[in-house]
Every structure is written in structure tokens, then in C-alpha cells.
């Protein structure tokens, strides 16, 4: 019952995502009256659900951004804060990035629970505000000039242009909706997967997994958001910022997709690197920022005098406000949920530096005499350890994050039942599964020790050299390991309620 209640927050986040982000794919089509809102909403909804169920299931192994939040009530609150922020921005008719609202809310959770925030995530958001619109504007200008040249060369009938533009807008919108569903469903529903209330069902000989059902529900929530509340943001994107021609509307949607494809696709980078060709730099991009950038590009190409700078200012303020507001809201809501409703919004994590940690860090090239001085002292949160590290060592911010990660204590048990029940045989290779099985019964108090042992069981568990060519492989390996860590983690509540299957394990404190 608890899970269903907590799920409501994910559904709300899905709804607000649909209400805001649908404008990125169909805003210009609806704003230029090339596609009726009802048609756009219908196509968008169908393809969002399809994307969530068909391709989103591929992301079922990833927990989405909210995976960083280690307690269900915490995830509920963070999702709620992100959803409320997005709703607020939607009510103001402003297109904002839901992902940035989630990141902002997670930072609020980090502050509330004294977890360390990776400065990189903040830099990425700021970079997205600047780089993404610039890139999208450039791509839009290039595309528009090319399209104009083509039209002038072929001289199609006005009605032909109309028909092709309409078709292009619908196709690009459908494709964008599919991607929207596939890419965001993990953010909306991923964190609830481990507590998924749905069981596999069989219909006409086809098994529909619980994950697919959960994702279909999330997709439906996004679709309802599109139908019920997305029209106003669509109008802002489609005509509020700049009065677009239908052809420009098509260019905007194409430029947005192309920007995301060129500058965020690791698949493209892998493909180009595989052919020995130069690759595009990977930069953080967001469809909300890309679409606004593309519209500005068209506006600037036409002299810039028709751009409504007031609306642009409001949109920019909305971008800045979104993560900040979500962070503040999450912080306040977490306080309420924890103290008024008596819910645990985070799992206590202990940090302990010992010789094994120092050796592990040294293998990664992180050495500092100050680390020895920090040995043998228990720290109940990451911020305290970070302060100590900053005081006692000369390590860089990146190295400090690594130390915090390695020093983290927990309890992991490689459980045969978990292997049989939760590991996807289509995702893990046969060698990887064989490797995991050889570790059945082992227990760990460090996640990296589990990773190290896994790496010894099969080359499939070894990361490849850090080159562009191997980036996808290493990312997938990381996702697989993160999933294993999550699946094998023994919760303190479980520990109390059941006897260990293997030899009795000494409590962490006693081991010390």
C-alpha cells in the first residue's frame, strides 16, 4: 500500500513532465496551427506510451536520476518537489527542463541529508543553459538556410510545402514523443522499480513484465499531462517567443532533435570513433533549452527584431528558477515528511577509512599522506568526511568524491534468489552471470570490493580503456554494476528480521 502511495508522486512527476515537455516536440506545430492541439496530443500520447514501454524497458535497469536518493520516502518527496516546480513553471506557460527540476530537488535532498553534491551536476546545468541554446541556434540557422535553398531550387506548390511540412511536423513530433517517453520514463518510474507493485502477467501467450506495466502506467501519466495541461506551454513555444512560419516550425523541431543527436548521442560518437572519424564534443543538452535556442536562431537569422525579448527574459528566469526552486522545495518538504509524517527520507550511510580503502585508492592513483591521519574514525555523513578530507589532504574535488565513494560502508550479500529473480538474462552476458554465480554466498561491506571480485571472475566485468570508442561499453558496465549493488544490498531492516544465510557476519562496528 505504501508503495502505491509513494508511486503517486512519480505519476504526478510524469503528469507535470507531459504538461511541460510535450511543448518541445509539438509546440511549434500547434503554435503555427499546422497541427490541431487534439491531434498533437493524441499522437504525442500514443508515442510517449510506446517509447516508455518499448524502449524505456531497456532503461529498466537504470534507476534514473532519482536512483541517487536511497530511501523510498525520500524519492517520493524529491519527485514531488520536482513535479510541483514543473507545474508552477507550466502554470506560468514557461518551457523548462524537468530533468533540471529533478537534479535541483536531489541537491535539496543532498543538503537535507548531508550528502555530497557533485559540482559537475551543477556545472552541467549551467552549461546546458548556455551551450545548448547556442548550438541549437546554430543548427537551426544552418538547417533553415539549407531548406530555403532547397525550396527555392525545387519550387514546390504552396500546398505541397504545406502537406510536406505538416507530415514532417507530425513525424518529428511522433519521433520526439517516442524519445520523450523512452528517455524520461526512468526518471519518472525507475526509482520505484525495486518496489514495483505489478507482477508479470501473461496475455495470449505473451508475458508482460511488471516493469513494462509500471512504465506503461508512467507513460499514461505523461500522456494525461499532455492532454490536460500542455496546450498553454505549446502556445508559448509555438508563437509566444517569435511568430514562426510553418517551415520555420519544422526547422525548429528538426534542429532540436539534431542538436540532441549530434551533441549528446554516445551512439553517434561510438560510430564515428569506430570509423576513425572526428567526433562531435559531447555536451549536456536539454530539449527544452534546445527548442528555445532553435527559435532564437531563426529569429536572429531574420534580423532579431521580431523576437519578443520580454518572453525570452521570462523563459530564461524560469530556467534559472527551476533547479533552485526545486531544491528549496525538496529541502522543506523533506523536513516535513521526516518530522511530521515520521518517514525516513534517507538511509544512514557510514564512512570509514582503513588500510583497504587507502590501498584501493592508491590503485586508482589517489595518494595523500593525510589519508592515514583520517584512518579509523567513523563518520556518519559524507559532508563531515568531505570537511575532514579538505582539511587534512590536498586532494582535488574529484579525488575527494572518489574517496567518499570508496570509504562508504554498507552490506551486500550475493544472493542466489536475487540472481534468479531479478537479473535480466538478456542484459547481462552469459559470462557475467556465470561470474556473479561464483560469488554466491559472499558478503561485502564495500561496494568496490564486490566490483573487484566480479572483475576477477570474468573479463566481461572489466572496464575497457577510457576512450571514446569504449564509452558506451563502460557506461553500460557501470549501469550493470550499479544495478547489482542495488539488488544485492541488504537493508538494515532486513538484517534485523532475518538470520544470515552464510556464516554469521560480525557487525561492522565490531569488525573494527
Amino acid at each position: 500500500m505504501d508503495v502505491i502511495f509513494f508511486l503517486s508522486s512519480g505519476l504526478f512527476l510524469g503528469w507535470s513532465l507531459g504538461a511541460n515537455d510535450a511543448a518541445n516536440v509539438f509546440g511549434t506545430a500547434v503554435g503555427t496551427r499546422m497541427v490541431k492541439f487534439r491531434t498533437a496530443a493524441l499522437v504525442c500520447s500514443v508515442f510517449i506510451v510506446l517509447g516508455a514501454v518499448v524502449s524505456g524497458a531497456g532503461a529498466a535497469h537504470t534507476l534514473g536520476r532519482l536512483g541517487a536518493v536511497n530511501a523510498l520516502a525520500g524519492a517520493f518527496t524529491v519527485a514531488l518537489a520536482a513535479a510541483l516546480t514543473t507545474l508552477w513553471m507550466t502554470r506560468l506557460n514557461l518551457p523548462v527542463s524537468t530533468s533540471q527540476a529533478i537534479v535541483g530537488a536531489i541537491i535539496g535532498w543532498n543538503i537535507h541529508t548531508s550528502a555530497v553534491t557533485d559540482a559537475q551536476s551543477l556545472i552541467q546545468i549551467v552549461l546546458t543553459w548556455i551551450a545548448c541554446p547556442l548550438l541549437a541556434a546554430g543548427v537551426a540557422i544552418g538547417l533553415y538556410l539549407a531548406l530555403v535553398r532547397f525550396v527555392k531550387y525545387r519550387r514546390p506548390h504552396l500546398l505541397e510545402i504545406d502537406a510536406w511540412t505538416r507530415l514532417g511536423l507530425l513525424a518529428a513530433g511522433a519521433f520526439g514523443s517516442y524519445s520523450l517517453g523512452a528517455n524520461n520514463i526512468a526518471n519518472v518510474m525507475g526509482v520505484f522499480l525495486p518496489d514495483n507493485p505489478f507482477r508479470d502477467i501473461e496475455l495470449w501467450g505473451i508475458t508482460i513484465s511488471g516493469a513494462r506495466q509500471l512504465f506503461a502506467l508512467g507513460g499514461l501519466a505523461i500522456s494525461v499531462g499532455v492532454f490536460t495541461y500542455s496546450e498553454r506551454v505549446m502556445r508559448t513555444v509555438g508563437g509566444g517567443l517569435l511568430r514562426l512560419s510553418p517551415l520555420a516550425a519544422l526547422v525548429v523541431v528538426l534542429a532540436q532533435s539534431l542538436t540532441l543527436f549530434l551533441f549528446a548521442s554516445q551512439g553517434l560518437e561510438h560510430f564515428l570513433a569506430g570509423l576513425g572519424l572526428p567526433t562531435f564534443p559531447l555536451v549536456p543538452v536539454s530539449s527544452s533549452q534546445a527548442v528555445v535556442g532553435a527559435i532564437l536562431g531563426i529569429g536572429l537569422l531574420k534580423g532579431g527584431k521580431d523576437i519578443r525579448y520580454g518572453v525570452l527574459g521570462e523563459i530564461s528566469l524560469g530556467w534559472l528558477a527551476t533547479p533552485v526552486l526545486a531544491g528549496v522545495m525538496a529541502f522543506v518538504l523533506l523536513f516535513v515528511v521526516e518530522n511530521v509524517f515520521d518517514q525516513r527520507v534517507n538511509r544512514n550511510v557510514l564512512y570509514w577509512i582503513d588500510a583497504s580503502v587507502i590501498t584501493e585508492l592508491a590503485e586508482d592513483g589517489i595518494r595523500d599522506d593525510g589519508l592515514q591521519r583520517l584512518e579509523g574514525k567513523n563518520r556518519s555523513n559524507a559532508v563531515r568526511l568531505k570537511d575532514d578530507l579538505e582539511r587534512e589532504t590536498k586532494l582535488s574535488d574529484e579525488a575527494i568524491l572518489k574517496v567518499i565513494n570508496v570509504a562508504q560502508l554498507g552490506h551486500w550479500r550475493v544472493d542466489a534468489a536475487v540472481i534468479a529473480g531479478e537479473l535480466d538474462r538478456d542484459w547481462y552476458t552469459a559470462d557475467q552471470l556465470r561470474g556473479v554465480r561464483t560469488l554466491v554466498g559472499r558478503e561485502y561491506e564495500r561496494a568496490w570490493a564486490l566490483r573487484r571480485d566480479l572483475a576477477a571472475t570474468s573479463p566481461d566485468w572489466l572496464p575497457r580503456p577510457r576512450t571514446k570508442l569504449h564509452r558506451i561499453h563502460n557506461k553500460e558496465l557501470d549501469q550493470k554494476l550499479a544495478f547489482l549493488e542495488q539488488a544485492f544490498r541488504v537493508n538494515p531492516e532486513e538484517e534485523e528480521s532475518q538470520e544470515p544465510e552464510t556464516a554469521p557476519r560480525q557487525p561492522v562496528e565490531q569488525q573494527r
Binding site: 503555427t32 499546422m34 527555392k152 504552396l158 500546398l159 505541397e160 512560419s245
Partner: protein, 214 residues
């Protein structure tokens, strides 16, 4: 590039048929005036019937295009312009038809020394109309090239003004009685009106072309 679907193809065809009807109406108008001036009333009556049919056909096509554009929410950005174009172009054939019908109803007596003037005026008005039709067709495919055709419309319309002016001077400097003079001036004005209407359309086209420019 093939047209996208049948309904679009049909609609583009209807627009073409409408413009064909108006263009043909211009030719029939010219032939009708020629026939009347030559005293060939059989051919003239044939032209009356023909221009009447063409005017009906243009009306039908215009209405059909209008309904189609609205029903299918086509060309939202240029729908108003296209409908405005069809409407004003329709007034050109209406004017031509009315002008020819007035010849049929009022049977003006044209003095031999004015025949050349009337013939030339009908020819020039028709040329303005034909240039306007080409400009209208160009609007749908190549708005940037429209200026060349609009220039021709303006040129023919100006010629028609000059011819009409000369004709009227000739009429009023003749020995005809005043009623006859006024009657003839009225007919010169009606023929000249066709080129004026064509110019009105071309003025609108100039604006529409700017709006359509990419």
C-alpha cells in the same frame, strides 16, 4: 516532387482550374469586344454564353477551394491571403462579364474612327489580366519571381489608361451628341475597368509575395 496526397492534388487542380477560367474569361472578353466591333453578333452571342459559363465555373472552383482550405485547416499562414487572392481575381472575370453583357444589353453604336481605340483597349486590358494570372500562378510556386509579372500588369494597366484617355478625348472632340459621347465613355470605362481590377489583384499579390518570401 509529387504532390503529397489526392486531396492536396485535387485542391491544387481546383486552384489551377479557377485561374484557367479567369484567363479564358479574359480572352473571351477580348474576342467578344472584337466580334461586337466587327458586327459579328453571332460570334458575340457565343462569347456571352461562354463568359457566363466561365464565370460560373470560376465561382464554383473558388467556393470549393475555400471550403477545402477551411475544412482541412490547410496553409494556416497563407489561407487568408489565398482566399483574398481568389476573391479579388473572381471580381476580374465578373467585371469582364458585366462589361460584355452591357454591350449585349445596350448595343452601343461605335463610330468607325473609335473602333481601333476600343479594340486596342480590350487587347491591353486582356493583356493586363493575362499577366495578372501568370503572377497569381507564380505566387503558388515561386513568390520571388512574382515581381517580374507584377511589373507587366502595371505596365499594361498604364497602357490601358493611356489608350482609354486618348479614346475618350477622341469621343468628346467628335461631333456626336452628348448622350452618345457619355454612352461611349461609359463603355470605354468598363473595358478599362478590367485592367484596373487586374492591377488591384497584382497590388495584393505584391504584399502576399512579401509575406510568402522565405
Amino acid at each position: 516532387m509529387p504532390l503529397f496526397n489526392k486531396s492536396t492534388q485535387l485542391l491544387a487542380g481546383q486552384i489551377d482550374e479557377f485561374l484557367d477560367a479567369v484567363a479564358q474569361g479574359g480572352l473571351v472578353f477580348r474576342d467578344g469586344v472584337h466580334a461586337y466591333l466587327a458586327g459579328d453578333l453571332v460570334r458575340f452571342d457565343g462569347c456571352i454564353i461562354l463568359i457566363n459559363d466561365l464565370e460560373h465555373k470560376a465561382d464554383d472552383r473558388s467556393k470549393s477551394v475555400e471550403t477545402n482550405l477551411y475544412r482541412n485547416s490547410l496553409i494556416p499562414e497563407h489561407r487568408g491571403d489565398v482566399l483574398g487572392l481568389l476573391e479579388t481575381t473572381d471580381t476580374v472575370i465578373d467585371t469582364a462579364k458585366t462589361g460584355l453583357f452591357q454591350f449585349s444589353v445596350e448595343r452601343p453604336v461605335i463610330p468607325p474612327d473609335c473602333v481601333a481605340g476600343f479594340t486596342s483597349l480590350a487587347d491591353t486590358s486582356n493583356e493586363a489580366l493575362q499577366a495578372m494570372i501568370i503572377a497569381a500562378r507564380t505566387f503558388f510556386r515561386d513568390p520571388e519571381a512574382i515581381k517580374d509579372h507584377l511589373f507587366k500588369v502595371a505596365h499594361h494597366e498604364h497602357d490601358a489608361d493611356v489608350i482609354s484617355d486618348a479614346l475618350k478625348r477622341r469621343i468628346f472632340s467628335s461631333d456626336l451628341d452628348l448622350a452618345h459621347k457619355i454612352h461611349l465613355r461609359y463603355f470605354a470605362r468598363n473595358i478599362e475597368l478590367v485592367s484596373d481590377r487586374a492591377k488591384d489583384v497584382s497590388d495584393r499579390l505584391a504584399i502576399y509575395a512579401i509575406k510568402r518570401s522565405l
